[in-house]
């Protein structure tokens, strides 16, 4: 990482965020949250709330170093040194490979994409991939959770939430399936810069009251809602994260909190987000280092591209942006299925991303360098016999130990001739057919009938409360 993020640099960023919160403050109009923060030393200056550094330091001390997410059959522990990966959430549309068109996403798309990701070895937890447009707005978040929990046994990251009512409904639904202490994470975003007006403080406090693992998701854009300097953007994101952390912690000391970065850059010609630029990966890597400085598990993007089709641009952009934070030690990467900055998705992108993560995981695994791996004897034996390593027991051993990665999509024909004869399939074709195969063959155990009934009841009662007339 150039410049390297030394401890000194991380400290400078941390101190800068403390100064921002102490000297500039943040906007908030929720009375309960303001009173709570003021009771712990916060004060109002020029219409914004300021936090004392000591309050922040104390809260950071008490945050758990690991966060467990528990699904119906599987569990992951963020912060245990492993790399876990999940998909992007809430895409508006489905990209149709044939014809390259977009269509609004539905509940069925949430269900199908969940089933697909349940089958993929490199997806560790699942977020509702789409926002279903075939339900009214008040039912979107509950429907997203409902479709995901029915179609996977992996841990779940709930949809991003905007109101405390959504938090309550989702918590109730999670308890139906997971019991009293569901380890399902929820995410919520302030508006950058430093805007906690409206319901977001209540959302944070409700997540904390419910005891759910919390992933605050500030999404500042460099040069528009954050400073144009990458270091300054990280300072701002960090300040927003610290506000979320402090508020959650004051309501529920010891709440599991995941330090989540969502910094992006903009095309300064037209203001459009550029998730595929390498700065996304650079800032994500820096975010990992800063979150680890606080000894918190960190979640960042990840697989992110700006391209509008699942093409070469998307491929190289997302690989770069996923590699940088992975090498920095990210605990969680997001972005499986992401297209065009998160606006739409498709099965083919999910499959390709599964392979990209497979390659990254292979890199992180490293390779052994012991006497046997240094292979002096194996070389001698090969030279003494047929001068190839194909027959060597050494080769068979390392082959069985996955010394060379074999991705799901990467194994292909030997050369141009056989490839042409086999139909000249590109990676998009292979991903498409593999997705179809998995969807036909993969099965997830159904939820028990009483749980399905209970979830349906919650959805009905939620709709009754908001139904017009």
């Amino acid at each position: 990482m150039n410049p390297p993020l030394s401890e000194e640099t991380l400290l400078a960023m941390h101190q800068s965020s403390l100064r921002v919160l102490c000297e500039t403050g943040f906007m908030i109009d929720d009375k309960e949250a303001t009173q709570l923060l003021c009771a712990h030393g916060a004060w109002v200056k020029r219409g914004r709330l300021c936090l004392p550094p000591q309050l922040i330091e104390n809260c950071l001390q008490d945050c758990p170093k690991e966060v467990v997410l528990q699904g119906r059959a599987e569990k992951i522990t963020l912060g245990d040194g492993g790399l876990y990966v999940h998909n992007m959430g809430g895409a508006r549309d489905v990209y149709e490979l044939t014809g390259g068109r977009l269509r609004p996403a539905t509940c069925r798309d949430v269900a199908e994409s969940t089933l697909l990701m349940d089958a993929l070895e490199n997806v560790s937890s699942i977020t509702p991939l789409y926002t279903p447009r075939d339900v009214p707005p008040a039912l979107m978040a509950p429907a997203m959770f409902d479709q995901v929990v029915r179609h996977t046994t992996k841990p779940i990251n709930g949809p991003g939430v905007s109101t405390p009512e959504e938090v309550k409904v989702l918590s109730e639904m999670a308890r139906v399936v997971f019991g009293d202490h569901p380890a399902v994470s929820l995410g919520a975003s302030p508006v950058s810069p430093l805007n906690f007006l409206g319901p977001i403080p209540q959302v944070i406090m409700e997540i904390a009251r419910q005891g759910l693992p919390f992933g605050p998701l500030p999404c500042p854009n460099v040069g528009a809602t954050a400073p144009m300097s990458l270091a300054g953007a990280i300072v701002l994101q960090n300040a927003e994260l610290l506000v979320c952390l402090v508020l959650a912690h004051l309501v529920h000391p010891g709440l599991p909190i995941i330090y989540c970065g969502r910094l992006s850059v903009l095309n300064m010609r037209n203001g459009a987000p550029l998730w595929g630029n390498p700065e996304v990966g650079m800032m994500a890597a820096a975010t990992v280092r800063l979150g680890h400085h606080y000894r918190l598990p960190v979640n960042v993007y990840g697989l992110a591209g700006s391209g509008f089709a699942p093409d070469m641009q998307s491929g190289y952009e997302r690989a770069i942006n996923a590699f940088l934070p992975a090498l920095a030690g990210a605990d969680e990467l997001s972005g499986i299925g992401e297209m065009a900055g998160g606006v739409y998705s498709c099965n083919v992108q999910i499959l390709i991303d599964n392979d990209i993560i497979g390659a990254i995981r292979r890199v992180l695994r490293g390779f052994p360098v012991d006497d046997e791996a240094l292979a002096v004897e194996a070389i001698e034996q090969a030279m003494e016999s047929r001068r190839d390593f194909m027959r060597s027991p050494h080769t068979r051993k390392y082959l069985r130990n996955n010394e060379v990665w074999a991705g799901r999509l990467g194994l292909q024909e030997s050369g141009w001739e056989s490839w042409s004869r086999a139909g000249a399939r590109t990676i998009l074709d292979r991903a498409h057919y593999e997705a179809q195969r998995l969807l036909e063959q993969h099965q997830v155990p159904s939820l028990p009938d009483e749980q399905i009934k209970a979830l349906d009841e919650i959805m009905k009662s939620t709709w009754k409360q908001v139904e017009p007339g």
Binding site: R92, T131, P137, V191, L197, T225, R269, N270, G271, V343
Partner: protein, 215 residues
């Protein structure tokens, strides 16, 4: 002599210096130069150069925005002088703009408001989380020719449809053009809800606004 004032003001916009623009505008007025000439021979040429540099790729959105700020601050000094002379700069149109109820995202909407203002529209920016009734009453109050609505969330974009319905119920729908924008918004959505147009970015919004005003 006048010519030097105009060159200075043009440079202030191109260099993006709002304080200098205000100071020099004030000096030009004190020197007895007519406000309409200050606008047409000093400020507008500056905006035009900024526009050309943007088109050629030398300048970016921040340059446009800073130049728009310079222009707006200068106009705050000049408008009273114009009114006193019973003059006014012809506006490209009266626009009401805001982010819909339940949504507090503002950067995109603010960029569009700034760009419209920089391009001669009279903009009433209602901010964020705007109640539907406020859109309707402000549109009536200012005689808006265009309404712009922003929504960032899939859950709040449906409010855009509600506002259009409210315009119909108030008998106002035919009196103005409606344009919509925001990350979840598409042309298909704009068509579905009966909006007159949709733009994907602030530059597109200005082009759309001009087109809608001339139709």
């Amino acid at each position: 002599m006048d010519h030097e004032f105009f060159n200075t003001l043009t440079n202030n916009l191109v260099e993006g210096d709002p304080d200098a623009t205000v100071a020099n505008t004030r000096q030009a007025l004190e020197a007895g130069i007519e406000p309409m000439r200050i606008i047409k021979e000093g400020l507008v040429p500056g905006m035009n150069i900024v526009g050309e540099k943007f088109s050629s790729g030398e300048f970016f959105l921040p340059d446009l925005i800073i130049a728009a700020d310079c222009m707006q601050k200068a106009m705050e000094l000049l408008e009273p002088e114009l009114r006193a002379r019973r003059q006014e700069v012809e506006s490209a149109g009266i626009v009401v703009i805001g982010t819909v109820k339940g949504d507090i995202h503002e950067i995109g909407k603010s960029l569009v408001a700034t760009m419209l203002s920089a391009n001669g529209f009279k903009v009433h920016d209602l901010g964020v989380d705007v109640p539907t009734a406020t859109f309707i009453s402000r549109v009536q109050e200012v005689g808006a020719q265009m309404l712009g609505m922003s929504a960032l969330l899939t859950t709040t974009m449906t409010v855009q449809e509600e506002v259009i319905q409210a315009l119909k119920e108030a008998g106002l729908r035919d009196r103005l053009k409606v344009m919509v924008g925001g990350a979840p918004v598409t042309q298909a959505w704009a068509d579905q809800i009966g909006a007159d147009g949709f733009a994907e970015d602030a530059i597109g919004a200005v082009q759309l606004a001009r087109k809608l005003m001339s139709s």
